[in-house]
Symmetry: C2
Subunit: 719 residues, 2 copies
């Protein structure tokens, strides 16, 4: 069922209604009235006759008409029973406020499971439990006890009631923006993050979505839904709980799988989510995205009436990857015509007193800059709005005229303008006017710069990423019959590690560049195999019981003559037998020696929130000491694979270092893609480890392969 | 001369006084009157009889009494002549507002040079030119045209008038703090940053110093003075102009050597300067340091009344390197006695509704936490100050009582408390009270966390750094007679590169571990030298003209037999002759082969602002591809040398990687110290390059050494 019946509810039962002003069951009824909710409100109370003038009912079953939604404010243990009644009554959804479920650990989880069962049995969809509530702002359906929520087009999804209050207060105090919905997601026992996202994506009254999240219960579904939604509506997210102490805090109050892993960063970006690190920037970034056109490219002009602000803005924008290009001669000539001789025209543009007697010059400059086809957006920094305060009263009206001009300029040029003003504190009318036109005005340079930055990031995403990636995260496609047989065979033997010979065969089936090899059961078979392979070979013990082959003396390298191969085989078998007398030795893998080149590492593992992820790094100290790896949630596109190679700190090594030829990046990217497909094809794979993969001028070679299978064998993401 | 006569001026001449309200020469007189300046003010004007009721003088020479200070507001070209008159009059200092000097490039620099000559001739000290002015707040000596500067104990040094206005506005609007002095340093033509610092360090009315800087003209003197000042007064600095576009902006308006190099970061830290990256955090950090005791260690408790804020605060503090330790059992027991059963006591502490009916519980918790000897500071986050607004009027008074208690607690425990409150916008009296006690209150979690962080950083600096470092930056001590002869000899020959044999000898003189070697002029001398050295040797061509020895075929390695040495010598001489027919070949250096170990690199160079700096890195890809180096302004202490080894990304390699023994870090640190002393001893050294230095389990060996001398031979820092 969709969530419309909850968020568009025409009738609400308040289970736990109260006469006590301090109780949620009283405040909720009052809030519905104050917010102008026009639907039916049914207080449910075992004894009272009426509350706030509304007749009470003994239970939801006693309510005469149909009921869309129940707000349940009673203690945790009563909830499963009450949901049964809601189901019998045919109620579509329930908002469960009580804590005391999954966030408390083992005991709470059992109660939460009962809650889910009761709800599912009757098709009652549940918001929460352990939620601060929901608000459908336009309808006055305020079930969250937050007063004075400004109406607008931003939807707010939060795992913290305090952060919701924080963002709503900020919007009301500092901006002209407001909210379409507030949703406290709580423990996500029934309705998950991605379902709310789906609802909001389809909601015509929502233009942007802002999310405060400390942990996700199903990261893959969230990503998929975000990917679909972000084409039309920007999604801005503050990811919290990244430190261990932050996770400790998050775990104690949301019960979510606390913390979001490192892979989230690129995954969020691919899904079009704009991730904010700094809580001060969360609402401003959302405001900018909800109000302004995104930038076509990342070339920004800075217009300033003094040095310091321009310098800081240039620094901060540069940190965000924004370009501050030199201006074209044509644009400089046009600026020169309206600015004094000592103005700096190099970008940042410093008007050098050119606006002191006429701040209307700002609008003239803004027009010149936004009309320049090589400029995608404008940041105005300094004192605009303060000329009428600081210099002369009459300048106020000139500033207001300039604000009108600049506001219309944004609509006309479809390019964004963001304003920093030291005088925002004084709330001059000119700055109110800018906000009327959707132009964000901040007194923080850092925040103004962040607004510019997210407009560039979102514009870039829309322009490039969506055309190329298809962020489908389903598993299961593309398994080969022989591959399935290999995996099923291992599992049938009770093994959770593929033999190296099996792993190599599976990789080859999916097109990975694994050199030919042979499983030799006797020394003579090994000699024959070595002969077929030509050149020096390596021998590695094959035994289901021996995972650490080197440790068991089970690896010999660089064997050139039949005699060397023969004696190596015997030594390996002897040594492996000493290492583990009960090990079943199936023979030795005979493989050619690795070619020369750059050693790299490719691996996959299962992330608790996002499922299978792939990792790429350079062998040796770069991975082992510097942890220099790039990661992606699977599957990946060829583009993503190429980008993974480039984002290593040591990426230059692949480009040819100290006179060596560059390695074959297409081959590496192709291998990453092959691994992506392989891991999707067999959900049983827990972990895959190719170490090393030697990359050379023409191609890449998998030298060692290890594949672990999942112990539970399920094809769901481990929780 | 000290700067007291400027900042404590009893009489001021306004050169460029005007009747025009829009002119600086009018506004300044008005500002002095409005700010209650009690000294003499002498307008200087060629024709007017009086301005604002004060009699005018035709020139400073016509003023009857003594004059301490002149404010010069006339155009740039008039300034040198006016300074001559000031000198004749015996005026102690002049504030020169006009731009049009060094910041304009070549032409302006000539005028600035004339300004300096005029000033120096008569001992007139000059602030600026190109300055927004100065304010001595307590005296009402306002020569900067900024109105309503709150009085207080923070001194403000700025290279941007706008940033000064920014900080002053912020202080006035948001805090109860104010300023002792504002100084617009301008182009630093005469008085430099470090002289202002020296003055402020000695000023009893200044408790903290905040600096906005885009470039320094004499970084070493600045560091030395900051080092002396920061023992008593925290110095907080926003370093701007770090991006190329930021430098472009800075260069166009301050004329300073734009941008501050990367070495500044550690150098500022060693001098006790607290560097702020984010302009929003500059004043708050200063407020915290000027008002609160620094932390003894970095263990902080977070007290919250809701989840989201606590989680974010934990994340941000962790990013700042702050510890959020688990609480002791004793403390948890005490907290349990005042908080409800479902409160989280693990730090972050969540009161879980325990303050809803009694926000006084915050004060009780604050006492328990600050009395814990394992907690060094407290961060309160959430809704404090808003209980009276949100829940019930009477709670206001309880909050006010709690504010009094918490304020006194800071004095009593000598531990800082920083407060984040969502309700700061409403200006509740309880939050005013906190500020009365010097407790900063912010509605930004990031800013509140930054305040905590700088208190920890400054406390740590005071506790540890000052005891161990002696940040003396003078050059010239410790030269050896033989070393001086080597350098003088090279310079006498017109050489600016020491021969490798000379470089090695110089290094050895200062105790660097350079293995014995010999300069062989003939093949037979080389054979004899190789015999003396035992083991395989390397031969390297010695020629003043050949800098790139390998390129010239001038290096042969691993020579074991006399025959090998002999033929290598001949081949080197032949090959070098082919490479450069005019090169004077002085022979070959015979040196033992490098031992096995970890290859490292040690170098020094001259930084334009900070003079000699040292660099340490690991050889190979880490330096070449990852630019993994640590740097310090010279001289360094043994501690700093040890820390340099530790701060490399690849530092673990020195600790013994892949089963290799750890290298001798004492030997490496000793070598860094020796190089520090050597470079100080000979100011002629432009650049020194030891590449590689092989570090092994016992000791380190300099394998290759190159020393470049300065072309101008001066012992001043290059500009």
């Amino acid at each position: 069922m969709g969530l419309e019946r909850i968020f568009h509810a025409q009738s609400v039962a308040i289970v736990g209604a109260s006469q006590d002003e301090r109780k949620r069951g009283y405040q909720a009824i009052l809030a519905l009235r104050r917010c102008g909710f026009e639907g039916q409100v049914y207080p449910v109370h075992p004894k009272e006759e009426s509350i706030l003038g509304l007749p009470c009912y003994r239970s939801v079953l006693a309510i005469p008409g149909p009921v869309d939604l129940a707000l349940i404010t009673t203690p945790a243990t009563t909830v499963p029973g009450l949901l049964e009644q809601c189901g019998q009554k045919g109620i579509g959804g329930a908002v469960v406020i009580a804590g005391g479920f999954g966030e408390l650990g083992e005991k709470g989880r059992a109660l939460q499971e009962r809650l889910v069962q009761s709800a599912r049995r009757h098709g009652v969809r549940v918001v929460g439990p352990n939620t601060s509530g929901i608000i459908s702002v336009r309808r006055g359906l305020n079930l969250a006890g937050i007063a004075d929520v400004p109406r607008g087009d931003i939807a707010l999804l939060s795992q913290s009631g305090n952060m919701a209050l924080h963002l709503i207060t900020e919007a009301a105090l500092k901006t002209q923006k407001g909210f379409s919905y507030y949703i406290g997601v709580g423990n996500e026992a029934d309705i998950k993050f991605h379902e709310y996202l789906e609802f909001l994506a389809a909601d015509p009254g929502t233009r942007a979505i802002v999310i405060y999240v400390e942990g996700l219960s199903d990261g893959r579904r969230f990503l998929q839904q975000a990917y679909l939604a972000s084409r039309d509506k920007p999604i801005v997210l503050l990811k919290s709980g990244r430190s261990s102490k932050g996770r400790r805090s998050a775990g104690s109050h949301t019960g979510a799988l606390a913390g979001i892993s490192e892979v989230a960063r690129t995954a969020f970006g691919r899904a079009g989510i704009l991730t904010i690190e700094n809580s001060d920037e969360l609402f401003p970034a959302t405001e900018a995205l909800a109000s302004l056109p995104p930038m076509r490219d990342k070339r920004v002009a800075i217009l300033a009436d003094g040095g310091g602000h321009a310098t800081i803005a240039a620094d901060v924008l540069t940190d965000h990857g924004i370009e501050i290009p030199e201006l074209s001669k044509a644009t400089r000539d046009r600026l020169r015509a309206v600015l004094p001789a000592n103005a700096a025209l190099r970008n940042p543009i410093d008007v050098a007193g050119g606006t002191d007697s006429d701040p209307g010059v700002f609008a003239a400059c803004a027009r010149i800059l936004l009309e320049d086809p090589h400029i995608d957006g404008l940041l105005l920094v300094g004192l605009f709005g303060g000329y009428g305060i600081r210099f002369a009263e009459r300048l106020k009206f000139i500033e207001e005229d300039a604000a009108h001009q600049m506001g219309k300029l944004v609509t006309e040029t479809k390019k964004p303008l963001v304003v920093h003003s030291l005088y925002r504190f004084a709330k001059p009318h000119s700055l109110e006017l800018l906000r009327y036109y959707g132009i964000p005005v901040y007194d923080s340079l850092d925040i103004a710069c962040k607004c510019v930055s997210v407009l560039a990031t979102y514009g870039h995403y829309l322009a490039t990423h969506h055309q190329r990636t298809n962020f489908v995260l389903d598993w299961g496609a593309g398994a080969k019959k022989r591959g399935r047989a290999l995996i099923d065979g291992a599992l049938a033997e009770g093994r959770h590690v593929l033999l190296e010979s099996e792993a190599r065969e599976l990789l080859r089936l999916h097109g990975a560049p694994v050199p030919p090899d042979a499983l030799a059961r006797t020394a003579e078979e090994a000699v024959r195999a070595a002969k077929r392979l030509r050149g020096p070979v390596a021998l590695k013990v094959v035994s289901p019981q021996i995972l650490h082959k080197s440790e068991a003396g089970g690896v010999r390298l660089g064997l050139e003559t039949p005699a060397q191969v023969r004696s190596a085989f015997r030594e390996i078998v002897r040594s492996a037998g000493r290492y583990d007398a009960r090990a079943e030795i199936r023979g030795c893998l005979v493989a050619p020696m690795a070619p020369r080149g750059v050693e790299t590492i490719i691996g996959t593992k299962l992330d608790a929130q996002f499922g299978p992820v792939i990792l790429f790094g350079l062998g040796g100290i770069l991975v082992e000491v510097l942890k220099d790896v790039s990661t992606r949630v699977l599957p990946i596109s060829r583009n993503a694979a190429r980008r993974m190679l480039g984002e290593l700190k040591g990426a230059d090594i692949l480009g040819g270092y100290r006179g060596k030829p560059p390695v074959d990046k297409d081959a590496l990217a192709g291998l990453l893609l092959a691994i992506s497909e392989l891991v999707q094809a067999y959900p049983e794979i827990q972990e895959l480890d190719l170490n090393p993969v030697v990359a050379h001028a023409r191609g890449a070679t998998v030298v060692d392969a290890r594949i672990l299978l999942r112990r539970n064998g399920s094809n769901h993401v481990a929780r």
